[in-house]
């Protein structure tokens, strides 16, 4: 065994800073829409060109594009956040219980993508004429719970079954106390990364399902719905589709970047 010098605690990983800043800015702008938008819901010239007043133009029924964008972003984010929170709330305890009682072996399956199951669930549930919010919630929360449980189990199991945790329990510490002292510092960044990634995927699920017409429907707005409505006018008003798409993608990427930074971070960094 080589002798190491005492590890120097680095500053916070720049990826976390960058990703979190971007995501927070976008979320803030979305929240602002609750109080104020550039032009309210007043009907103006439909499909106007972008100019100094209407930064990205107006949509097919004359609403200011920027205002709709802000409201749409808020809707998307809220749906994504609720679905993700439900996934974490159910999935993490299940995963933790499995990690302790039934640790994963090398043959345990890996969950690779949430998107196909989400689309299928979206199609099924919306086909049952369920309200849009419920469709999206289930499409996000059901696969999300499975992913959260699987990843929690995979991350927690090696940490729990270490000898030093056993030593703490043999010394008389109750399992929760031993976990808090020895497991949590390394576990929390991983769970944080899990949450952020689920959130990013949830945004993309909402965009996909609403674009397909299975999610938010008019008169509501969401990023996916904006894409759906602006698609036919893509040749003449590209900004109407590019900007909402960019917002969705940038938000998702920012969250994933922050998640990667968290995952690679040492405890306490």
């Amino acid at each position: 065994m080589t002798l190491e010098a005492a590890p120097v605690r680095p500053g916070i990983d720049p990826r976390i800073v960058l990703g979190a800043t971007l995501a927070v800015i976008i979320a803030f702008l979305a929240l602002v829409s609750l109080a104020w938008t550039p032009h309210g819901a007043a009907s103006l010239t439909p499909l106007a060109e972008p100019d100094a007043i209407h930064w990205i133009g107006t949509d097919a029924i004359g609403r200011d594009g920027t205002s709709v964008l802000m409201t749409a972003t808020l809707t998307t984010l809220l749906l994504a956040v609720f679905g993700t929170l439900a996934s974490l709330f159910v999935g993490i305890p299940v995963g933790a219980a499995l990690a302790v009682r039934l640790p994963p072996s090398r043959r345990t399956a890996h969950v690779t993508s949430m998107l196909p199951p989400a689309l299928l669930i979206g199609m099924l549930v919306s086909g049952l004429a369920a309200p849009a919010n419920l469709t999206l919630f289930l499409a996000i929360a059901l696969p999300g719970t499975v992913v959260a449980a699987t990843i929690t189990r995979r991350v927690l199991a090696p940490l729990w079954h270490r000898d030093y945790v056993t030593a703490a329990r043999l010394a008389g510490l109750r399992p929760l106390a031993a976990a808090q002292r020895h497991v949590l510092p390394r576990l929390l960044p991983q769970l944080g990364a899990l949450g952020l990634e689920l959130l990013a995927i949830a945004i993309l699920i909402e965009v996909s399902l609403s674009f397909a017409g299975l999610g938010v429907l008019p008169p509501g707005t969401s990023l996916g719905l904006m894409l759906r409505e602006a698609q036919q006018f893509m040749a003449i008003r590209p900004l109407l589709i590019l900007v909402p798409g960019a917002v969705a993608v940038v938000t998702a990427l920012a969250l994933m970047l922050a998640a990667t930074g968290l995952r690679g971070a040492r405890h306490g960094a």
Partner: protein, 534 residues
């Protein structure tokens, strides 16, 4: 020449583990290089094999142009066969087979010797255990301070070591036993009655249920106060499971345990009793939280005793660290800053802070090299006497138990199959498992190849070569160690060990552990006296 290195130096991360090393190895010759842990053996092996990690630089001449075969700690004979198929002239073996079971390692070493004898492949064996070249009768070089400091036949080095490093390695196999008298034995402290443990078969499926596997079956034993009981068993025999149950982790499926007359079944061990039982793990690096200073880890057992004041806790910590031979200011360091041997001492200190009555050791020296192992066991014996501890020690290595235990129980596949004092067991142990565990660890030098050997690995056993009796050829599929009768085992062990000091020559000398020294039954061997080692 198979290998001719001149002034070889290897640098990595600003350090120079190997400097100015000269090494000449003739074609078809065998050389063992013995060095302590961290003496640069692995880097040397990697340099010769051309497999240095990124960031390492090498200078010097003589590195082989044709890539030699490499045999590592977890290599098996199949990898050896692949190397031989490739047609190598030199095999570089870095602790060959040390990660395998003892029997598998012996088979691998035998296969290496056969490859050398029948195909003329040169062997370079790097190891930290001097007993390996000593048992196999090899020429040996000592690696210390980055260069080879001494070279000669293993027996010659053993009898007349010149360099300090040689002396240290040679003496590693001969620690002094029992530096102090044992405390008196009292009433039973720990009793197990019919203990059994079953676990679900991990390969059973919903559609193909399998019955549970019995990890432990009908274990009945009792450990008296002040006694040291050893558990000898191969990997997978159930030693760790049993020790964890005794320490209060998990639950038995059958039977009952009793500590100080308080019955329990595993994790229903009462908190007060938990403070009086301590457990040591095989790998000290896994036993300490790498993010916590060791001082914090050491105080963990004291959390159970709430009535201790902070001052008393600090006193106990300092005392425990001093007892194991370390300075109290190491308490602020992280586990990664210690060597494995120091960490195992700290683990022992952690086991002692709660002033236990019973200390359980789970393969305590598995991660240590022979020199560190000897030092640790000597330290442990002293600590045991000073504190009057009761000891339960599990190991795969009989030599470790011979130093530590008054009484040994042999565990095989969850059953206790045999028991007795170490000397009795060595002489008269007859269960197949016992014999396998006591068997010689390293193969002896091979007899010269018969002139009409048709192929390198004959399937049929060779007839014994008269007049000396030779061990059965190791190619035989049944475990070769069973061919050795117990007295042959003792004989070969004695042949390797020099007498430690003159006093052991006295026929009347009595070692409290060994009232009947091994070998005295045979007139031929009356002169020599095995003193706690091989």
């Amino acid at each position: 020449m198979a290998l001719e290195l001149t002034s070889l130096g290897v640098a990595i991360a600003g350090k120079h583990p190997v400097t100015g090393l000269d090494l000449a190895l003739a074609d078809g010759a065998v050389l063992a290089i013995v060095g302590r842990a961290n003496s640069g053996k692995t880097l040397l092996a990697q340099a010769i094999a051309g497999l240095l990690p990124a960031g390492a630089t090498v200078h010097g001449t003589g590195l082989p142009s044709k890539r030699p075969g490499v045999i590592g700690p977890d290599a098996n004979p199949i990898e050896l066969a692949r190397c031989l198929d490739r047609g190598v002239d030199l095999l570089v073996c870095d602790e060959p087979g040390s990660a395998l079971t003892l029997a598998a390692q012996r088979d691998l070493l035998t296969a290496l010797l056969i490859a050398n004898r029948d195909r003329g492949v040169a062997l370079l064996i790097l190891t930290r255990d001097f007993r390996l070249p000593s048992a196999m009768g090899l020429e040996t070089a000592i690696l210390s301070g980055g260069k080879l400091v001494e070279r000669g036949l293993a027996t010659a080095l053993q009898e007349r070591p010149q360099h300090a490093a040689t002396r240290e390695l040679v003496n590693a196999g001969k620690p002094r036993t029992r530096t102090m008298a044992r405390p008196p034995i009292g009433e039973p402290l720990l009793e197990l009655q019919g203990v059994g443990k079953r676990i679900a078969d991990p390969t059973s499926r919903l559609w193909k249920r399998k019955s549970p596997i019995a990890v432990l079956e009908n274990i009945t034993l009792s450990v008296r106060r002040g006694e040291a009981v050893g558990l000898l068993g191969a990997a997978g025999a159930g030693k760790s499971e049993l020790l964890h149950l005794i320490a209060g982790l998990g639950r038995v499926s059958a039977g009952e345990l009793a500590f100080d007359r308080t019955p329990y079944h595993g994790d229903d061990l009462v908190r007060e009793a938990r403070a009086r039982i301590s457990l040591l793990f095989p790998d000290p690096h896994a036993a300490f939280n790498p993010d916590l200073a060791v001082g914090l880890s050491l105080t963990e057992p004291l959390r159970v005793e709430e009535q201790l004041l902070i001052d008393e806790q600090a006193d106990r910590l300092v005392e425990a660290v001093r007892v194991v031979g370390l300075a109290p200011d190491v308490l602020d360091h992280l586990p990664g800053q210690f060597t494995t041997a120091e960490l195992q001492r700290l683990a022992l200190a952690r086991a002692l802070v709660s002033r236990p009555s019973l200390i359980i050791l789970d393969e305590p020296t598995a991660a240590l090299d022979p020199v560190e192992e000897a030092e640790f066991l000597v330290l442990f014996n002293r600590v045991r006497s000073d504190y009057g501890l009761t000891v339960l020690c599990a190991s795969r290595d009989f030599d470790v138990l011979r130093l530590v235990a008054d009484r040994i129980l042999v565990l095989e596949a969850g059953h206790i199959v045999e028991g007795g004092k170490p000397s009795e067991l060595a002489e008269t142990g007859h269960h197949a498992a016992t014999v396998a565990l006591l068997a010689v660890r390293y193969p002896e030098p091979l007899p010269p190849a018969l002139p009409q050997a048709p192929e390198p690995l004959p399937a049929a056993p060779e007839p014994p070569v008269p007049p000396e009796e030779s061990p059965a050829p190791p190619e035989e599929p049944p475990a070769p160690e069973l061919e050795h009768s117990p007295d042959e085992t003792a004989e070969s062990r004695q042949a390797e060990v020099a007498v430690t000091d003159g006093s052991s020559d006295r026929a009347g000398s009595v070692d409290p552990l060994d009232p009947e020294p091994v070998g005295q039954a045979d007139d031929d061997r009356a002169a020599s006296h095995v003193e706690g080692t091989k």
